[in-house]
Amino acid sequence: MAPTMRPGDAAFAAVEHVNAELFTLTYGAIVRQLLTDFEEIEEVNKQLDTMGYNIGIRLIDDFLAKSNVTRCTEFRETADAIAKVGFKMFLGATATVSNWNSDSTECSLILEENPLVDFVELPETCQGLHYCNILCGVIRGALEMISMRTEVKWIRDMLHGDDAFEMRLKLLDQVPEEYPYKDDE
């Protein structure tokens, strides 16, 4: 009997792969350039989030087209899809979902491995920097395109000495689609 494939594996196999080191080094170059351009750490964090947002609004279509997901209304299912299929497909790393709150509107995504931070150490001057803030923006942008407004922040960061990467996803509201034309036109 063939070994069972986890849902992310099929999607991972279907996409074109890029060299991991090239990816890590390119991302590092972007962050360094942002630090030079903006100088203030908070501003860099915000820029990374905005860049991530712009990526996320496009990435969602790529994800939906390649992963055959057709329904996406429950926040729980969505968080699972991001962790198991999304992260695997785009970063080659799986995440786990945990720490749901009582009404299923908040959860944590924990990443054991993160290709963005290979070879990275934060210097003394950049201690407030959320190096992987782009990922928060990507998730926020992608979820906004499927009618879920969220807030995504880092809680644990291995570059700050913690033992894993943990981001907190909070669902603010689900905005239903509005009929764009007025009835009298």
Binding site: I60, D61, L64, K66, C72, I146, Q174, P180, Y181
Partner: protein, 154 residues
């Protein structure tokens, strides 16, 4: 005079705000409305049809909000209708992008074809850094890849 034998009539791509991102025509001898009215009419029709199909569903649990607004993430409740002269197929993605393909009525199930067209859209339009999301697009590569793919469906 060469006769054009094609089973495809036209393709519309709408986003969640009703903006027609793309209109591609292969064969459409009779045009009665201006392009803008035609697109608005089609978008309105599909919005109403989806809502109607969801409400009339005998297996629905009744949990869904029965008001006019429905989140696009519900998935398509209907995917095609056929008349004597054409068949209209719809693919709606959870991100609100709608693909409408009008073809010859004898065409079979086009759901897989629509998914492939979605993939073409992602490759040439979404991934294009010069494309502004939410605006109509005109992309030669998209058009030529689409034409080539559509020939294989004939």
């Amino acid at each position: 005079m060469a006769t054009v034998r094609t089973r495809m009539r036209c393709l519309y791509v709408f986003n969640r705000n009703g903006i027609c991102l793309h209109y591609h025509v292969w064969l459409r001898p009779l045009i009665t409305l201006s392009a803008q009215q035609d697109q608005k009419l089609l978008f309105g029709l599909l919005y109403s049809l989806k809502s109607f199909a969801a409400k009339v569903d005998p297996l629905s649990t009744g949990k869904e909000n029965l008001s006019f607004q429905q989140p696009p993430g519900q998935g398509c409740s209907f995917h095609s209708f056929r008349t004597n002269t054409y068949k209209l197929s719809l693919l709606e993605t959870p991100s609100g992008i709608k693909f409408i393909l009008v073809t010859d009525p004898r065409m079979g199930d086009l759901r897989d074809a629509m998914k492939y067209i979605y993939n073409i859209y992602v490759e040439y339009v979404v991934k294009n850094p010069l494309y502004e999301p939410g605006q109509p697009f005109r992309c030669e590569l998209f058009n030529s890849t689409l034409d080539q793919y559509v020939k294989t469906l004939e």
